[in-house]
């Protein structure tokens, strides 16, 4: 007995840990409860439990893209450093653009440069095709919608009742969701990054429904303060007909108008339905408990959910790839219209090499005529000296001095304000140009950004507060790298318009200097001047009919020096072509320059030349009023 105890002791204390050095338990889950949408950014959470020694290494998620057998197939690896103490469990999350469910995801844990665990996540079978609604509730309170939207053959709606801890903490993690509903779930369990992610997702075009009612108290409203002031002053009884369904475009049937709901009286929005615009999206505040509404006014309830689900912006989905939107070659032409970036002419090359040939001929002719063998041997040092002179001179004069650097990066950053809520969608496109084949690193520090995958991006490395993408650029190649972020940018505007005129007021509540602000009206620029932090500009724009004004040189009009003129011309060209907006043309477009980047990129040392443009645009539709 004593012997077996000793054996057990040695097995436990010495032998098992020796062999269990890499004993890991890894659990990976994808999407929301296993559901995900192809073509969307999808959260993948991985929990790592160390059963052996401390783990210090790398957690990587490998994703294959492209056709199964096609030439376009390539891999992207997301990496995060991990530290897991013995016996500890840590959760890590990735958000990846899923383009197909054909290829499995591969999760790999590397401990001190050794692969400690590999697992493949099969994606087949659970992609969502219809609407995806994410609900934070304690009960299946929206199940009554399922038979209305789903048939035996087709599923038009998926409801996912999520726990707060499973919600993404980065805004693009909600990309697959069409609607997020906050009901009587444990809102106070939501973390600050989760709330911030939710807010940014709304600002990027998402829609959040907050359901009030008896369950919604100070604790709940306090938990979601970053989303807005939803403080409740009282609980009142309100008739369905007087709750403001008209604002949602829902008409309440006569027989349901008198039904009474227990509604929250919000301090700021009262006890009526409120639509609160945030950036490109909105928060819909329901003062009542929607589960109760379904019981007392079923037709109104159904119509309300129809309106909430069907009125979603169609183009809200975040792109997984963006290419060529800044017209890289135009940008390059614009920035590099300098003689130094042209090849030396043929005549210069001919003259240079002609000097070599003539010099050589002279030396060889002299050597041929020289009778003294000792002197004739001088031909070798003479040719060597001329060769060295010409080769070094050619390299310095024609390559180093007259041709561009090996790699250059041109960044164009555009903050587009959608009008409401003081949020901007910031897109930064960095065009990389290379004259040698190399891998370049582009890093983005600060709050999380999306980096849509470029074709040749192989790695995305995420540190604590920074994200870096490793991009391969071939010799003489160029690659566009895109980063996307939603951020508060309180540059506000209001417009009053009538026949032939528009009066615009711009308020810069940001901490940025915005210079050379221009109003574009049907392609005709009007100068608004500089906007310092806190300043206000009022401008009356009268529609101009004289064709001569439109012919004014953009660069002369906007800027006073050549560099600014080049940049202004580029933006002006793009804005006037209305391709800048990538969609419906606005009646007015405000274009300005920020003094520093909003979404700064750090480039590796391979780039000796970088040019950055930071532009703010506000597309204004005259029917909108802010």
């Amino acid at each position: 007995m004593r012997r077996s105890g000793a054996v057990g002791f040695w097995l436990t204390v010495v032998i098992v840990p020796l062999f269990a050095q890499h004993a890991l338990h890894v659990e990976a889950s994808i999407g929301f409860g296993g559901f995900f949408r192809i073509g969307s950014w999808t959260p993948v959470s991985v929990s790592v439990t160390s059963l052996g020694s401390d783990v210090s290494g790398l957690l990587s998620l490998q994703m294959e893209r492209g056709e199964r057998l096609g030439a376009t197939r390539h891999r992207v690896v997301y990496e995060r450093p991990i530290e897991v103490a013995r016996g500890d469990t840590k959760a890590y999350s990735f958000i990846v653009p899923l383009e197909t469910s054909i290829h499995p995801l591969t999760v790999t844990v590397t401990d001190r440069d050794e692969v400690a665990h590999t697992e493949r996540l099969d994606l087949r079978g659970r992609p969502v095709s219809g609407r995806l609604v994410l609900v934070l509730t304690r009960r299946p309170s929206l199940d009554f919608l399922l038979p209305l939207y789903n048939t035996r053959e087709e599923r038009g709606l998926e409801l996912l009742y999520s726990l707060p801890e499973h919600l993404p903490d980065r805004w693009h993690g909600y990309d697959a969701a069409d609607l997020v509903v906050l009901h009587d779930g444990r809102l106070h369990d939501l973390t600050a990054p989760q709330i911030a992610a939710m807010r940014d997702w709304i600002a990027s075009g998402g829609r959040l429904v907050v359901s009030g009612g008896p369950h919604f108290g100070m604790r709940e409203s306090g938990a979601i303060v970053p989303l807005g002031n939803f403080a409740v002053s009282a609980i009142t009884a309100a008739a369905v007909g007087e709750t403001g369904f008209g604002d949602l475009g829902v008409s309440v049937p006569e027989e349901e108008r008198g039904a009474v709901t227990m509604s929250s009286a919000f301090a700021e929005h009262g006890s009526r339905i409120a639509r609160i615009p945030v950036g490109r999206g909105e928060i819909v505040l329901l003062p009542f408990d929607y589960a109760q509404l379904a019981g007392i006014a079923p037709r109104t309830s159904t119509a309300m959910w129809d309106a909430l689900l069907d009125g979603l912006p169609a183009d809200r989905r975040i792109a997984t790839e963006m290419h060529g939107r800044v017209f890289e070659s135009d940008l390059l032409a614009n920035q590099l219209a300098l003689p130094i970036y042209r090849f030396p002419s043929r005549i210069v090359v001919l003259a240079f090499l002609g000097f070599w040939v003539l010099g050589l001929a002279a030396i060889l002719a002299w050597a041929a005529g020289e009778r003294h063998p000792g002197r004739r041997r001088l031909v070798f040092p003479a040719v060597a000296a001329l060769l060295a002179l010409v080769t070094a001179g050619g390299h310095i004069a024609l390559t180093r001095r007259m041709q561009p650097v090996a790699a250059l990066a041109l960044g164009i950053e555009r903050a587009e304000l959608a009008g409401y809520g003081g949020y901007a969608m910031v897109t930064r496109e960095t065009a990389l140009f290379s004259r040698r084949s190399a891998e370049y690193s582009i890093g983005y520090a600060g709050s999380p950004v999306i980096i849509p995958m470029a074709e040749r991006a192989h790695h995305v490395r995420r540190q604590e507060h920074a994200e870096a993408q490793i991009v391969t650029v071939d010799r003489w190649g160029h690659e566009t790298n895109v980063a996307l972020q939603v951020m508060p940018f309180p540059l506000r505007w209001s417009v009053r318009s009538g026949p032939g005129y528009a009066e615009i007021v711009l308020t810069n509540a940001t901490r940025h200097d915005i210079s050379h602000v221009v109003l574009l009206r049907s392609g005709v620029p009007e100068r608004l001047g500089d906007l310092g932090p806190g300043s206000i500009v009022e401008h009356l724009s009268v529609e101009r009919t004289d064709a001569g004004f439109a012919a004014v040189l953009w660069e002369d009009f906007v800027a006073d020096d050549a560099l600014r003129a080049n940049r202004a011309r580029l933006v002006g060209d793009i804005a006037r072509r209305q391709r800048f907006e990538g969609g419906a043309a606005a009646d007015l477009i405000v274009v300005g320059w920020t003094d520093r980047p909003l979404l700064a990129a750090s480039l590796d040392a391979g780039f000796r030349t970088t040019v950055d443009l930071h532009i703010v645009t506000i597309p204004i539709h005259l029917e909108q009023e802010q």
């Binding site: 002719a365 050619g394 040698r436």
Partner: protein, 246 residues
Amino acid sequence: MSNPLLTEAAAVYLRRRGYVTLHITVALAMALAAVVFWPPHSYLHFFRTGTQPLVLQATLVVQVLLVTCVSLVAGLDRIADDSIVRHSEWLERTALPVAVIARGKVCAAVIHTAFLTLLGLPAVVVAAGPAGTPSTPVFAGQIIVFLSGLAGRTAGMIVAHFGERNYVVRITGGWIYLALLFIATITVYPPLNPIAAVATAPAATGFEPMLESAVALAGLTLLLMIAYRVSLSRHRRSAGRQAHDA
């Protein structure tokens, strides 16, 4: 310069009009290749079209063809042949050891091939600029050119040696060698093809893509040199036997 063959080579290559003209022509041809293939468009054209300037590729291909062919012809003793002492005369009418003869011929071949290669270097360096090719693959390409030239030169010496006794070999040997090196290797063993090897230089960042070719060409040169040395020894032995019999 104690080796008489080296002395002879220096006199021939530096003093004879044919060789002087040949060297200037090689340098001129290389310069013209760089100028003719110089990119006619600006940088932007290449960025927009996703293409690359072909100037370095073309210049290297011209160089490898020129150096290989000129080396072969020089090995065949076709230029200024009236000033060159034939193999049979060195082997049959002098008491110079075969090793000295072989060493003199090979040293002259190495120095002259290196000289021929260097004649094109300025054009190649200038062409590397628009191609955006780093210096390592450019110089790796020069090694390929040199090895290809040296192999051609050695093959030429073998053909010249046998050709002194066989007219058909003398006339066809050089052409057969060129056909084997530049055409047959495409299907038989592509790394041995010098054109294919130098064509990879512009896209390379280091020596690696050309390493196999360099090893193959160096191996071929070594084999040819051994064969040349053996043929000289056999010639000397047979000449000795004939003298003994006489």
